[in-house]
Amino acid sequence: MNPIAMSLLLTVALGVFGRTMARKIQLLRALAPADRTNHLKQRLANMFVFAIGQKRLIGRARERSSGIMHALIFWGFCVLLIRSLTLYGQGFYEGFQLPWLGGGHLAGYLYLAVKDVMEGIVLLMVLYAVFRRAVLKPRRLHNTFEAYLVLALIGILMVSDLLLDGARYNLVHLYHNAKTIPFFNHPRYGSEFLWTPVAVGASALISGLGASANAAILATMFWLHICTQLVFLNILPLGKHFHVITALPNVFLKSLGYPHEKAQLLDLEDEAAWEDESLGVNHIHQLNWKQGLDLYTCTECGRCKEVCPTYTTDKPLNLYEFNDKLKHALLANADNIIRRSGLAAARARCGDDEQAAGLAEQMSALNSEKQLIGDIIAADTLWACTTCRACEEVCPVTIEHVPRIIAMRQGQTLMAEAYPKELNPALKGLERNGNPWGIGYDKRADWADGLGVQTMAADADVDYLFWVGCAGSFDDRAKKVSRSLVKILQRAGVRFAILGVEEKCTGDFARRVGNEMLFQMAAQENIATLNRYKVKKIITACPHCLNTLRHEYPQMGGNYEVIHHSEFIAQLVKTGRIELQPSLAGALAYHDPCYLGRYNEIFEQPRSILASVCQDAPRELPRHGRESFCCGAGGGRMWMEETIGKRINLERAEEIAGQNVAHVAVACPFCLTMIEDGMKELEKEELIKTRDIAELVAESMA
């Protein structure tokens, strides 16, 4: 006990820590706004599942051992926190105990037992972690001095506390100092050391050193533990271990209702925004505070890049570096960003035009000299992303990469007019004829010739609108899927119609490439058409249409119940409106489309449908479900050349071909094209047929 030393230590350590944290928070507050204060209950639930429950660490089969390791260290740490508070108290007052955790309560004993065992486990886990980093060297990990330092500090924390208890044990039971050394001793629960096997084991290591040495060890371990912990606390905010502090709030504040923050509906008519160049993200200060917190929280674990289809096929997008560079840019510009936000607030308050202009000038002088895209993030990196969300789905701390990438693409397209020019034909096609193929809009319903499909214009009194999408309307391969779906709907007696030439591209790809103007134009027109016909329920075979209609049109006043054909067909089968023969021979595997699975959580329905058309149970691909591997077409990549590295669709086709299947089923017209093309490249298109589930169902209808 040394109240003066303890006060001094705490004042200095907490003072420095407080200052660091205040600064970090100030920087976040200077960033753009984001609203994350709703749905408290759901947020708490997320925090329990993802952060405290460590779901993405222990939940992934591929990473189970390291996940369990991390979870045990984390939980051990949480347990130890209570002990630490006790020790701080003991610095002021000998024998201090937290309420209900003292020697008079069973809880005190139970806590000691748990803490003791956890300390032993954490110590083992730290050793395993060092072994893993130094010997096993998983590819995704970056070995840094910081990583080892932190492991060493954790080790010291455990060892010091165990030896502290060990020395107490020796002094009490071996050297008979029971009178002077406080310890729990309860008539019912006995000596506290009956409850702490690991500490007693540790005591054996120092039992032969004599009473005075043990007393010295006791004192040393006490201060070593306290000092290590305070040093640890102050090291955390400086590097990737900041996540120890920020992970919980970051998960608590994650996006709800949609897997990540939706692309912002920009006000393109706002002239001031054009003047301020504030549409999209072209400067580091334009990130919002949650995106800043994401950057603080990245643990540099590399899980994201390991599953990223671009990184795995040797493209320059390496999410670990992406985050790291942004974080460094953010920190390097912290002063300017904070000053800038002060000026912005002053400008918002000031009524005088001239003064406001002066402030605006000062603000732009504070912009980073480095171009966000170009100097910090290479253009090839930004445009490589397929927006597949594989990265987000594995991130243990729920970092959202895609919204940031889309916001940067918006900035590039709208403000800098710097985007891959190879997109022009598709964008122009969208603008003129409402489809990226650029085929005359009047040919949109040609696929349905002779099928007896009615249009809304002819009769809008139907139960469902079949939203065909551009691929289903214009792409020869996907048209067959549209026809199959029509056959199914007709067989089931569903009352449906199409929009025909009145349908336009939903604008999905335009939005993903940052062309908010064309997205909004397309969306506006479509919503006007849909609302004119009072459409309520929409069926579509395209997950991209599904996603846009379901989640993005509400931003612009279009609210519909949007159903994917896999959901609808599964329902038809379940209710007996169509009957399927399990007639398909040969093994079949299912490829989960990103915008169906990860974006819209539709994993089961396609599988259940396939199970009823196949003779044998469908197989799972190595990368499936939540961790399915992208076909390479999303995020507007369908309309760009893929010139760097291996082609993503080829990588996926090889994975499928490696499973010795005769069929691969998809549920997206873009996956259909990409995977079939991949099979052609492998010269396997005859051996492994790529089919949409609708085609398989149409052929299996009894």
Binding site: L268, W274, K421, N424, L427, N433, G440, D442, V501
Partner: protein, 260 residues
């Protein structure tokens, strides 16, 4: 260098064109910038950006050409005029060229850039006739332009035997091919700016001429009627035994198609 670029509003040829009673059915049609002219505009804008040229655009006929001209503004053209007159309704290439001649003479231009043809008529005459009227050198089917100095260009064109390099003294007329460049796609900022820019609208009198002078009354060529191209119906598919099919096909060719 002062550049005059021409732009024609044409029907979007991606659409099916329907013909009824010898006339095109307007219903459902949409109009766009003639693709070759879009390359011409891009060429002019690049010359503005790289060599400080001044760019003016002229569009003739077509009713409301506002969208077309604004698009060119959004691409970077500085000023534009639209010449329309009821007398121009039946204009052919010669009449267009006469009008352009008047525009040229009123403006002291160094270079005229036109698309090598228009998507709707595929005539490919106007630019060349204009050069003839003006007595200026003309290079057609141009695929590259390099500015040597104020008065000289090095122009490459796609000829029969390959690329030809032509030295050209200004003033002159060039007609460009689509392979000369990739026209930029106008973006929001440009389109917003374009909305605020004025378009100079003129009839023939305002241009300082008259229907008579242009020769509107007697066009050298006239479209008498349109005819729809015949639709090819899908082929017939035969399946089964090879020998049987062969026999059947031979029989059909001989007796039904009567080509054997």
């Amino acid at each position: 260098m002062k550049i005059l670029t021409t732009v024609k509003k044409v029907v979007d040829v991606e659409l099916n064109i329907h013909v009824k009673d010898g006339a095109i059915v307007e219903d459902g049609l949409q109009y766009v910038i003639n693709a070759w002219d879009e390359n011409g505009v891009e060429t002019a804008v690049q010359l503005k950006e790289d060599s400080g040229a001044e760019t003016t655009l002229v569009s003739i006929g077509g009713g409301d050409n506002t969208d077309v001209i604004r698009r060119c503004y959004a691409m970077g053209i500085e000023s534009g005029m639209h010449i329309d007159d009821p007398a121009l309704e039946k204009a052919d290439a010669f009449i267009y060229a006469r009008v352009l001649q008047k525009v040229f003479e009123a403006g002291d231009y160094d270079l005229v850039i036109t698309g090598k043809q228009a998507q709707d008529t595929d005539n490919g005459q106007t630019g060349i006739i204009l050069a003839e009227y003006l007595g200026l050198p003309c290079v057609s089917n141009v695929i590259g332009i390099e500015v040597l100095d104020d008065k000289h260009l090095k122009v490459s064109r796609s000829g029969d035997a390959g690329t030809e390099i032509v030295a050209l003294e200004l003033p002159a007329v060039v007609t460009v091919d689509v392979s000369i460049n990739e026209p930029r796609l106008p973006q929001m900022r440009g389109l917003m700016m374009a909305k605020k820019k004025a378009i100079e609208k003129m009839d023939l009198t305002a241009l300082g001429t008259s229907a008579d002078e242009i020769g509107c009354a007697a066009p050298k060529s006239e479209i008498v009627a349109f005819m729809a191209t015949e639709k090819r119906s899908g082929g017939r598919k035969f399946e089964g035994d090879a020998a049987e099919i062969t026999a059947r096909v031979v029989d059909l060719l001989a007796n039904e198609a009567k080509v054997l």
